[in-house]
């Protein structure tokens, strides 16, 4: 019964996602396209966090760093579009954002993964703060106030400045990466990663170089978060240190937990639920955080497996 329900929700949801721009157009509610753009981009970010948090058991509290540096990479390349290295081309800026985020994740991961438990949580937070303060002090790039971009990246035949085309690009990226992640967590690599989550000492005893596996997962996760950041910068045509603020890292964790940790579709449900909740609550009261806070505590206390867990109550994390 639930299995059927789950299928209906997942496939129905997917169909709805594909048709959304047309529906929104038909209803004359263009706002929903922008909102869903945000949802999908944050879903991408949450999905990247889920790889290390849900499958790898690494509680990274600094994921905003990769989101932010991805956004800044796009912003800075566009800012210098007159210089030899500047560009507004999406075909260069997006891979560059992923590369820079991957390098940052490699550096942070190489140090942080030497620690574990609470130390890991706090050191990833501290590194994210370093990146935050670094960009706050960059006066040339707007410092605390951030900087405006002239336009969205140029993606050749695809016109990113059109919200509907932008939406399909984000949706396409999300689905491709979702599939890639689906394959990844089922591959040998993914099995080792999940083994580490369950019992690192045992995996070590079996001869797996666990540190290296974790680091690779950490870097992949950082790169995808960088891509999400790049799309975020494009969506709002604005980058600022607020993308790097530590509460962002917290929000991403909330999305992962809300949707269902260690599940493929969970982070998307989580991002959607989080933004819808934000939208609905802020409509009722400007002090919506006062509801969200206790709600969050309640979710942690009673609904440990998230929204996806409601659809799949007895299932193993997939």
């Amino acid at each position: 019964m639930l299995d059927i329900l789950r299928r209906i929700v997942l496939w129905g949801g997917l169909a709805l996602l594909c048709l959304l721009p047309m529906l929104a157009e038909a209803l004359g509610e263009g706002f929903y396209i922008t909102m869903m753009n945000r949802v999908l981009i944050l879903a991408l970010a949450a999905m990247s966090l889920n790889l290390i948090l849900g499958y790898g058991g690494m509680v990274s509290f600094g994921h905003a760093a990769y989101l932010g540096i991805g956004a800044y990479t796009v912003g800075i390349l566009a800012y210098h579009s007159d210089a030899w290295f500047g560009t507004e081309s999406a075909f260069i800026a997006l891979p560059a954002a992923m590369l820079v985020a991957a390098i940052l994740a490699l550096a942070i991961g190489a140090i942080s993964l030497r620690t574990s438990g609470v130390y890991f949580i706090m050191i990833t937070l501290a590194f994210a703060q370093m990146v935050y303060f670094f960009f706050v002090s960059q006066q040339e790039y707007g410092g605390m106030d951030g900087m405006q971009m002239w336009s969205r990246s140029d993606a050749g035949p695809i016109d990113l400045s059109d919200n509907a085309s932008f939406y399909y690009v984000v949706l396409g990226l999300l689905l491709v990466l979702l599939y890639a992640k689906y394959r990844l967590v089922r591959s040998r690599f993914g099995l080792v990663l999940r083994g580490i989550r369950e019992n690192e000492r045992r995996m070590k005893a079996l001869g797996f170089p666990t540190y290296r596996y974790k680091l690779v997962a950490f870097v992949i996760s950082g790169a995808v978060a960088g891509l999400a950041g790049a799309m975020m910068a494009n969506l709002s045509e604005f980058v600022s240190p607020s993308l790097l603020h530590w509460t962002r890292s917290g929000e991403m964790m909330v999305m992962v937990i809300l949707g269902g940790m260690g599940t493929i579709a969970g982070p998307i449900l989580g991002a959607l639920a989080f933004l819808v909740l934000e939208d609905v609550l802020s409509e009722i009261t400007q002090h919506w955080m006062i509801v969200l806070g206790p709600l969050l505590i309640l979710i942690v206390l009673v609904a440990r497996r998230g929204l996806y867990g409601l659809l799949d109550p007895k299932g193993e994390p997939k």
Partner: protein, 290 residues
Amino acid sequence: MTLLLFVEQVLNGLQLGVMLFLMAAGMTLVFGIMGLINLAHGSLYMIGAYVAATVQQATGSFLVGLLVALPVAALVGMAVEMIALRRLYPRDHLDQVLATFGLILFFNELVKIVWGPQAYFMAMPDMLSGSVDIIPGIPYPAYRLAIVATGLAVAILLYLLITRTRIGMLIRAGATNREMVNALGVNVDRLYTIVFGLGAALAALAGIMAGPILALEVGMGESILILTFVVVVIGGIGSVRGAFVAALLVGIADTFGRVLLPPAIAEMTIYILMAAILVWRPQGLFPAHA
């Protein structure tokens, strides 16, 4: 760097250090004994400052504000512990981070509703508003000296409390083996609540003392919270002694970093310090459960 500047910066560093110690002591105790990471520790710092500022405005006395705000913050802390946090002790760190993140959102919004979003300023107590010559000819604000003195006094009291009293003995025993303490007939739940209240009062004390120096605003707890994390991690989680050493270290490093280094690096000094120390000793300087 002249001698004058040097002495001044050392004192500034100590002042930041003792504030961080007051925050870190509570956090590290709560972690060491209950195994709880409490992100909402900064909220108690904020509540302490706001309550003290309100009472001070009503009565005109800083001291009355201090004396009212400390028990209020302790009670708020104990109430939060009994309502929500108690259920999180057996959970993993991820759950604790998320739930206490929820608490931060709640408290920030609560303060915004009660006191409004604008920044508050707290008046300095008259008695301490002047300056004192630390070395003949070198004046230094008396209030900041008072902070250093208060912080050091609290550190000594805390040391005596933990090493010389019965409750301190229970705290240490609880940190080592809580099941055993429970089995010996100690009301562990009550012990935990008391420890939490103590940590809350210390955080509030830091917030109240910071009041006249910094502006009171929503979210003021978070900036110090993250510095406190750094201190707790450098000191070794669960170790009050480590928290003391690390707090002074971070206070001094941050202050001198701001004077000596270019701004882009200065903000990052302590995070670099933390990363370096963790590479060297992944469990911090004084691992509590070595």
